[in-house]
Amino acid sequence: MNYFRSHILIETDEASVQQGAKDIMAALKQELAKHKLDKEINVLETGSLGFFERGVCLAVYPDNVVYGDVTLNDIPQLVEEHFLKGRPLSRLMLEKAEKKNIPLEYAKRIVLENSGNIDPEKITDYLGVGGYLGWEKALTEMKPADIVQAVKDSGLRGRGGAGFPAGLKWSFTAPIEGVQKYVVINADEGEPGTFKDRLIMEGDPHKLLEGTMIAAYAVGATKAFIYIRGEYKLCIARLQNAIDQAYEYGLLGKDIFGSGFDLEIEIEIGAGAYICGEETALIESMEGNRGIPRNKPPYPGQEGVWQKPTIVNNVETIANVPAIITKGSDWYQKIGTPECPGTKVYTILGDVAVPGLCEVDMGTSLRTIINTYGGGMKKGSRFKAALVGGAAGIFLGDSMLDVKMDFHNLAEYKAVLGSGAILVLNDAVNIVDVLESVIRFFRHESCGKCVPCRNGNEQLYRSIKKIKAGLASEDELDKMILLADAMYKTSFCALGQ
């Protein structure tokens, strides 16, 4: 095997590819070959490095340097300076990476530990960093009930929005016997400002698969589906590739590891409906119907896809599972807060200096996230509020900056952690405008079945237009608040609420 003195990891997630990452990679290889460096320096593809609005990024190991906004024209100089002369090209270096050693500090990352570190299209890379050890351990050393217990003990809560304890969810379905059971991974990410699941799937698809496998074994499902929104073409391709490889390596299929357990994983594709992020709507969609939420009960755990017991979990939730199995629930429980152990992946957007993706301990305050991981506010702008949790989330103002953010604490402030999107607004932004955009979103994305949501959002939309046009009387806002409260209390599913 070749020994490489350096590895260049170039991110090829959907956004970077669109900005020419593939061409840059080709040029880089060519340039290295020109200088006869191609035997010394390896060029690899990887998932998102966690920087947004920085064009194509690439990381160099073991030098721990990240370059951003790399273009084709930069390649000759970059190769000459950094790889020939050994002097990192400061012009393109991302300050943040050096200053805070983020996101190159992996110790605390669980979900994203490999993202930006390994080639997501190679199962060998994943195996090389200890991948599928959890699957092996689960299948060969543990009983399904042990796994359910371990996940229960870990305190892992669903990362899809509501924060329902994952182990508890599994424990309802695991004991049901004599019927086909299913595991469905909810990757129908549609919450505005959220794309953590896309980055997880693009950056480390095998981790999601491993978590899915363990979940399936734990609840006794021999078939699992990953429901991905139709627009995520790269995710679909990477996951399909990963599934194919897993079959090839005997990690999926019949009698896995000689355990007698069979498992198949299939990808299901959505067609554009935010509401399908709601688990029963997602199930309706899988069955070829309009994505209208079902009456609950019965819960999917008892009657889900094709009336069979079905566990629906979010991508991020499941991506936590392998680590819980390999490192144990005690280890997991020590991370984050007692009520909500573990980490949380956020996407920080808006008026921060360095918009990006980060995985931090549960309970990290908004202030820390903005200042440390977002690099503070953009120069010259002042914090006004942050929309946390996507469109379904809530505006958090100054007073909330130091609240420890987890499902438990935020609930006390009637706020939700939701999907983990943080949209930071400066004081120049008109909240009414943003609100209009949020309401417009819901007016369109409501499934249309239920009055509070369908007519309610329309009514709010009309009110806000009135306010914008200066036609509203003073009690218009009071009316809106009353209505919003009524919608919250009477909506059928969480969308309206």
């Binding site: 959907e14 956004a15 669109q18 900005q19 947004f52 609005e53 990410e189 549609g190 919450e191 505005p192 400002g193 959220t194 794309f195 896309r198 929104r229 139709g230 627009e231 995520y232 073409k233 299901e268 594709i269 959505g270 067609a271 554009g272 409906a273 935010y274 969609s285 899988m286 069955e287 070829g288 119907n289 309009r290 994505g291 094709w306 996407t347 957007l349 808006g350 918009p355 990006g356 993706l357 929309l387 469109a391 999107a421 949209l423 607004l425 932004v429 405008d433 943003v434 955009s437 949020v438 417009r440 979103f441 369109h444 994305e445 499934c447």
Partner: protein
């Protein structure tokens, strides 16, 4: 004429979403026609009204003929804050159509859509399967003109 597509899928209702995707992707006008719906209904033994209900529920489908290039501009809050309204106006101006309409040369259809999950590069649009991020008015115009030249 849809038999080639049907061959790939078992005739069960849960394949409806895929079949509709496949039909639309292979249609020169990027839509699912009445005839297609009728064929699918016969193949899957699912009533026409159900298929129509599904078609109109999901935003990726169209029941009306569209241009060769379907532009879907995100109007969700992150893109909104970054000025997608200006991009929309620019696109309308460049294309000479309102949102939901197709240019007379049949090259473009302009649509608005909800979050595409590329908020790090807001404002974002998709043209067919391609993403275009960090849009400015100039950039949007250039993209349209490039496609127009390439595919005219």
């Amino acid at each position: 004429m849809y038999q080639e597509i049907f061959k790939k899928y078992r005739p069960t209702k849960d394949n409806l979403i895929y079949i509709l995707h496949d039909i639309q992707d292979n249609d020169p006008h990027n839509y699912v026609s009445e005839e297609a719906v009728q064929s699918v209904s016969e193949y899957l033994k699912v009533p026409v009204n159900h298929i129509y209900g599904v078609l109109t529920f999901y935003t990726m489908y169209s029941t009306k003929p569209r241009g060769k290039n379907v532009i879907r501009l995100c109007e969700s809050p992150p893109c909104f804050i970054k000025g997608c309204d200006n991009i929309l106006n620019k696109l309308k101006e460049t294309l000479g159509v309102e949102s939901g309409e197709t240019t007379t040369d049949g090259l473009f259809t302009l649509e608005l859509c909800a979050c595409l999950g590329l908020c790090g590069n807001a404002p974002v649009m998709m043209i067919n399967d391609e993403f275009y991020g960090d849009l400015t008015e100039d950039k949007a115009e250039t993209i349209i003109n490039t496609i127009r030249e390439e595919r005219a």
